[in-house]
């Protein structure tokens, strides 16, 4: 998968590295700001109250 992506990125190696960093940043942002905030309340961690 990673190799496939690397081979399909256009341009020279420097250009490819830049694009790779951009993709990593975009996926991280998607996870950190959208996926995790949505997922986290559904997980049984970080419950601090007592209730029935």
């Amino acid at each position: 998968m990673y190799v496939w992506i690397w081979r399909h990125l256009p341009g020279a190696v420097t250009w490819k590295v830049l694009q790779t960093l951009l993709i990593v940043a975009a996926i991280s942002a998607l996870l950190l700001f959208i996926v995790f905030p949505w997922l986290e309340p559904k997980l049984p961690i970080n419950r601090v109250t007592v209730n029935q």
Binding site: Y2, R7, L32, E40, I45, N46, V48, T49
Partner: protein
């Protein structure tokens, strides 16, 4: 990654250069740009499958690691921002002469249903715990729903108000989300928990045996300084903690958080009693806080 890429290209060439006649039943789809599955030997298929599985597992590992970063770091950034917002809003309200604990007609809200008028998520009081650092302070918000607890420690609606007869119960996150109660286990019997409202400083002290330093000592009233309970044990926030149904006479504080750290299997509970009440006077601090004179 570039190393992998070269390996892959080399491998690709060997696959392509294989004589298709070696593979009975396989169909060559053409030239240098043949799809990887064309003309693959069983070993190549296996290698591709294993590599795919490996990369998927590595990816999953990285995502889980990123989730840990999110929990321990990113949630704190968001929570600190929200905490300073409620803190500033409360200070502003106080400066204007308003007190969220006091409703129309100047009457203090009473526990037991009449507190619904304080909107959840709004700041009601400030919390100081000198043992956790001279700069330790959080604005307590009304309510213990997820949204409120992201802003700061949350007051259980229906429990007593600061300084009130009964139990002023507050929940807070242990790890992430501003982690106000991260080091709650550092408290010892007799340690002060200071609550500041618009008009008053309430100084509570942690229960337990002052002589032996035993937090679990239940003393004469049967209430320990600290206890670890199951998440469904709501008796700990009863008006008289651990004694549901008993009419309160004491003024108590209870702090709840998750236990052990990073999990939610149990709850750590701290109980304290009101030791002293001081009227606020300008910017002066009570003597329990560093630099305090009151």
């Amino acid at each position: 990654m570039s190393g992998n890429s070269k390996d892959e290209q080399v491998e690709q060439m060997t696959i392509d250069e294989q004589d298709p006649s070696d593979e009975p039943g396989s169909v060559r789809t053409g030239g240098r740009h043949a799809r990887p599955d064309a003309g693959m030997s069983r070993a190549d298929m296996l290698r591709l499958g294993l590599r795919g599985t490996g990369q998927t597992l590595i990816t999953a590992g990285l995502i889980v690691l990123l989730f840990v970063v999110y929990e321990l770091w990113v949630t704190n950034i968001f929570a600190h921002e929200k905490q300073s917002k409620v803190h500033n809003a409360l200070e502003k309200e106080w400066a204007q002469g308003d007190d969220p604990l006091v409703t129309g007609g100047g009457k203090l809200n009473l526990p037991g249903g009449k507190q619904g008028t304080i909107p959840t998520g709004t700041g009601i009081a400030n919390l100081y715990i000198p043992r956790l650092g001279t700069d330790y302070h959080f604005t307590i918000v009304q309510g213990t729903d997820d949204g409120s607890l992201e802003k700061g420690p949350g007051h259980y609606t229906g429990s007593a108000l600061p300084g009130g007869v009964g139990n002023f119960a507050v929940a807070g996150h242990r790890v992430g989300k501003g982690e106000p109660f991260l080091n709650l286990d550092h408290l010892r019997p007799g340690d002060t928990i200071v609550v500041e409202t618009k008009s008053t400083w309430f100084i509570y002290t942690v229960k337990g045996n002052l002589q032996s330093g035993d937090l679990n000592d239940k003393g004469t009233d049967g209430i320990p300084g600290r206890e670890i309970v199951s998440p469904s044990d709501t008796n700990v926030i009863a008006p008289v903690p651990d004694h549901p149904g008993v009419t309160p006479t004491e003024k108590m504080i209870t702090l709840t958080t998750c236990h052990p750290k990073f999990t939610a299997t149990q709850r750590m509970i701290l109980h304290g009693t009101l030791a002293r009440t001081v009227q606020r006077s300008g910017d002066q601090l009570p003597k329990e806080l560093s630099g305090g004179t009151l």
